[in-house]
Symmetry: D2
Subunit: 265 residues, 4 copies
C-alpha cells in the first residue's frame, strides 16, 4: 500500500525514535548570549587578502550581518563584535524557540552566515567570495546585569589587547621582520611599551587609530520618543520608535549603560 | 595604560566570566545525527515561487549543499534529505569539536547556509534570492546501528507519507478546490485511496513519479578499490578511493545497508 | 604478574571508559535548591502508623535531620520542610563539589537518610523502624532573590492548602465517612468553606492548630553579635556567632526576609 | 481567606517557578551505571577502627546493602563493590523514574545509606555507629555491552592494584615504618616486586589472601529453572526463579559473562 515500500516501515516506532531527542533549555530569567566565531578565519582572511591587522571592509560586512540579525530576531537587545566574532544578547525573558539552546544558536548562526554571503558583494565590490565562510556558535546564560556587563567588558578588553598587539606585530612585519622575529620582539612588552614602539618606530599614535579597530562595534536598539504637536487643538502625542544603531564606544564604563537604560531594563 | 580605557577593566575576572560556559558533550561511541530544517520555509517557498508539491530545483540545491557538507566534514558518513530538512550522520567515534553539541551543530548549519546562498544562482539561473534563508539544527545521538537505521527509515516513511498527501492536495487545488476543501477531502483517506484518487481523477500513477520526490535523497561516501596493473613487473596495486555519491533509493530495507557495508562499519 | 588476572585487563583504556562520565555543573552565581521527597511515603506512613493529617513526631524527625544537614553542609543558608519533603538552599556562590549537581544532590539526600534512621529511636521511642526509608532529590537553580523567595512561598502556600484540605478530609473520615465520600464532599470547596466546616462540624478553629502544621518548618542560620566588655581596660569586643534555629513562621511575607537579612546576603 | 496568609501568596505563579526545573534524562537503550562512593570514608574508617588494608565486616555490610538495593530496584541486573564504592547496573531498557538521572541516583544512594545504618549492628555487634555515614553518587551511561564490561573490568583492575599496594603499605606500617617511609619505599615498584616483598618480608602469599579482598564483590541476579515432576500424570512443569547471589569472581574475563548470559541479555 505504501508506494513501493515493503512492510518493514511499519516496524518503526516514531515515539521510540523520537525519545532519543534531548532538549537543552536555557535557564529562564537569565540573559542569553549567543556568541559566534569564524571557523578557520585565519585562512579565510589570507585567501581573501584582508588587510592586517584590521580590514575595514571585513568589519563592515560583519556589522551589516549583525544589523540584519537584530532586524530578524526582535529579542536581541544588544550585540558586540570584534574581528571575526560577534556576541548577541537576548533579553532575559525571551521565549525564542522556548529557549532551546540548539535551535536559538543554529538559527542565529545560520542567518548570519546567509547574510554574510548575500552582502559580500555590497562591501567587497572588487573581490570574489572564493569559498563558503562558516561560523560556529554557542549559548551562555548570565544570571544578572552585572555579570552580563562583565562578559561584554571582557570582550572589549580582549579587543583592545589584541588590536594593540596586532598593530605592533604587523608594523614590524611590514618593516621587514619575520613573523617569528616580530613575535619575539613583542614578547612580554607592556601596554605602555607597545604604544611607545608604535609612536617612535612607526609614527603611529595608537589613540588616533579608528575607533572601530580599538573599541569594536556595538549594535543595539534605542528607543526614541517623538513628540508631535497636533495643530487642531495644540495637544501633543508621543510616539515611541525603536531604531537599530551602531556605535564604536566604550561599553566597559557604566556611563554607556546609564546613557542607554532601555537595553538592560 | 590601556589606551583610553579606565581602570574599570582591571576589575573583570575572565575566569569567572568563562565559568558560565557549559559544555554539552555528546556521548562517546554513539552515532551523532545533525538534523537541519528550513526556518519558515513555507513562506520562503511561496516568495520564491517553488513548484508544489515538489520543486526539483530547490531539492537539487539542498542536495548540492549536502554534498558540500560531506566534502567539508570528513566524519559525516551518510546524509538523507527530504523537502527542507537534511540529516547528517557522523561516524560513531568522531572527535569533531571534541563532540561538543553546539559547535558541531552550528558549524554544519552555518556551512550549509553559506553554500545555499552561494550556489543559488547555479541552480536558479532565472530567479533571484530575495532574502537570506536560514536553517535551525540539532544533534541527536543513537547508541546502535539498529536505532540509527530506524531513525533514517522514519524520515523516509515521513517523506513518502507527506509526498503522497501533498501530491493529492496540490492536484485538488490545481483543479480549483480551495485549500480547506482539499484538506477536508483528504481527511482520513488511506494510502490506497490516495493512489486511486491520483490515478482516476488526475491520471497520475504515483509509482511513476520521480524517485527523488518519493524516496528523498541519500548522499554518502562509498569506497571503491581500483586495481592498477604495473607494467614493469606485472604486479598489481590496489588503491582505495572514497567518492561521495547521491542516490534516490530505499534505505528502509536492509538490502541497502548490506550493499554499502562501509557506511556503518 | 597482576595476581591471578589474565592479560585481558591490559586492554582496558581507563581514559576511554572515563570519557563517558558527563558533568552537569549548576550555573555559577545562582541559588541552588536541593529538594528531597520521601519515596513511597504514603505506604511508609501507613506501615509506621503516623497520625493523620499530621504526625508531630514524624515532622520532628524530619526537622532533626534538616538541622543535621545544615550542621554538615556549611553552604546551606536556609531550609524549608513540610510533610515528607524538604528544600535546602545553598548560597549563591557555593563551590560545594564544584557545583556538580549529582554529587551535591546525592550527598545531601544520603546524609539526610542516614540521620533519619539513626535518630528514629530518639523520636519514636515506642515504635520500631520497619524497613529502610528512602528519599529522592533534585537540584534546581534560581537566578535571583525574588525567584528564590517565590519558590519558597510556593512551597508554603502548598503546605497551607494541603493541610487545610487534609484536616477536613481526616475529620470527615474519623466521623465515619469513607475516603471517597470525604473526597466528594470536599470537591470544589473554597478555603473559607473549609474553615467553616471545621469550625461548625468539628469545633476546630483552623487558626489555632499548631503552627508547625499550618506553616511548615523553616530551619536556617542566624548570626548573633555578642558584645563582651573587657574588665581590664573597659574596652569591648564583638563576637559574631552563627546559630541554626527552627521557626514555624510566615516566609511568604517580605517581613521575614527583612528581619533576617543575612540569609540572602 | 487563606488562613493567616496575606494576599502576597496570590502573586506566585507556580508554572513560572516550576519552569526552572530541568530534567536530565539518560539516553534510552543504554546501560545505566549508578556509582556510589563513601564521603570522607578515610575518616569514617579511622573513627570506626576498620582493619587495614581491608575490614571484612565493613565489606560484608556494603554487600548486605547492595543485596537490599537489588531487592528494592528490580531493574538492577548487576552490581560490583570494592572498598567504599559500589556500581549498580540498570538494564538497558529500564524506565525507572523515566530515566531521570537525579531521581535514580538519589533514590539508590538514599536507600543504600538507610540500609547501611539499619544493618550496622547486624554486622558490627561490638561497635557503635558514631556518626551518620554518607555516600555520593552519579549516573553514567554505556551504549554497548563491550563498554559496560570495560567499565566493570576497570573497577576490578583498580581493586586489585589498590589492594596489592595497600597490603604492602600496611604491612610496612605494622612493621614500624612511618606512613611516609612506607609510601617512599613502594614508590615505583611493579606488581611482581610487591608480591615478592609480601612473600619475603611478611610471609604473605598474595594469591592466598581472601578472594573478597583481591577481586571485590559481584552481586547479581541469576535465573534458575526448577523442573517439578507432577505425580498425578508424570508430566513436568518448569518454573523460572530469580535469585540474587554474591560472588568473589573474575569479571574481567569473558568466561564470567558467558557463564551468566542472562545478565546482559
Amino acid at each position: 500500500e505504501l508506494g513501493n515500500f515493503s512492510e518493514d516501515c511499519f516496524k518503526i516506532n516514531p515515539d521510540y525514535v523520537r525519545s532519543f531527542v534531548f532538549e537543552s533549555k536555557l535557564m529562564p530569567s537569565t540573559w542569553i548570549v549567543i556568541r559566534i566565531d569564524g571557523c578557520h578565519f585565519h585562512r579565510f582572511s589570507d585567501v581573501h587578502e584582508f588587510n592586517k591587522p584590521n580590514d575595514k571592509q571585513a568589519l563592515d560586512l560583519m556589522n551589516l550581518c549583525a544589523v540584519a540579525v537584530l532586524e530578524e530576531f526582535q529579542d536581541i537587545v544588544f550585540s558586540y563584535g570584534v574581528s571575526d566574532e560577534y556576541s548577541f544578547v537576548l533579553k532575559k525573558d525571551s521565549q525564542l524557540y522556548q529557549r532551546q539552546a540548539s535551535k536559538i544558536v543554529s538559527a542565529v548562526v545560520s542567518f548570519f552566515s546567509s547574510v554574510y554571503v548575500m552582502k559580500w558583494k555590497d562591501v567587497f565590490q572588487e573581490k570574489d567570495l572564493k569559498y563558503p565562510p562558516s561560523f560556529d556558535g554557542r549559548a551562555v546564560c548570565y544570571p544578572s546585569n552585572e555579570i552580563l556587563q562583565d562578559y561584554l567588558a571582557w570582550r572589549q578588553v580582549d579587543c583592545h589587547i589584541n588590536n594593540q598587539y596586532n598593530t605592533c606585530f604587523w608594523s614590524l612585519v611590514k618593516l621587514g621582520k619575520s613573523k617569528t622575529e616580530a613575535q619575539n620582539y613583542l614578547k612580554g612588552t607592556q601596554a605602555r611599551e607597545k604604544n611607545e614602539l608604535l609612536l617612535k618606530e612607526f609614527g603611529i599614535n595608537y589613540n588616533t587609530l579608528p575607533l572601530m579597530f580599538r573599541q569594536g562595534s556595538s549594535i543595539f536598539r534605542v528607543k526614541t520618543e517623538n513628540t508631535a504637536m497636533l495643530e487642531s487643538d495644540a495637544s501633543s502625542i508621543v510616539k515611541t520608535e525603536t531604531k537599530i544603531i551602531r556605535e564604536y564606544c566604550n561599553i566597559i564604563e557604566q556611563s554607556f549603560w546609564e546613557a542607554h537604560p532601555s537595553i538592560l531594563n
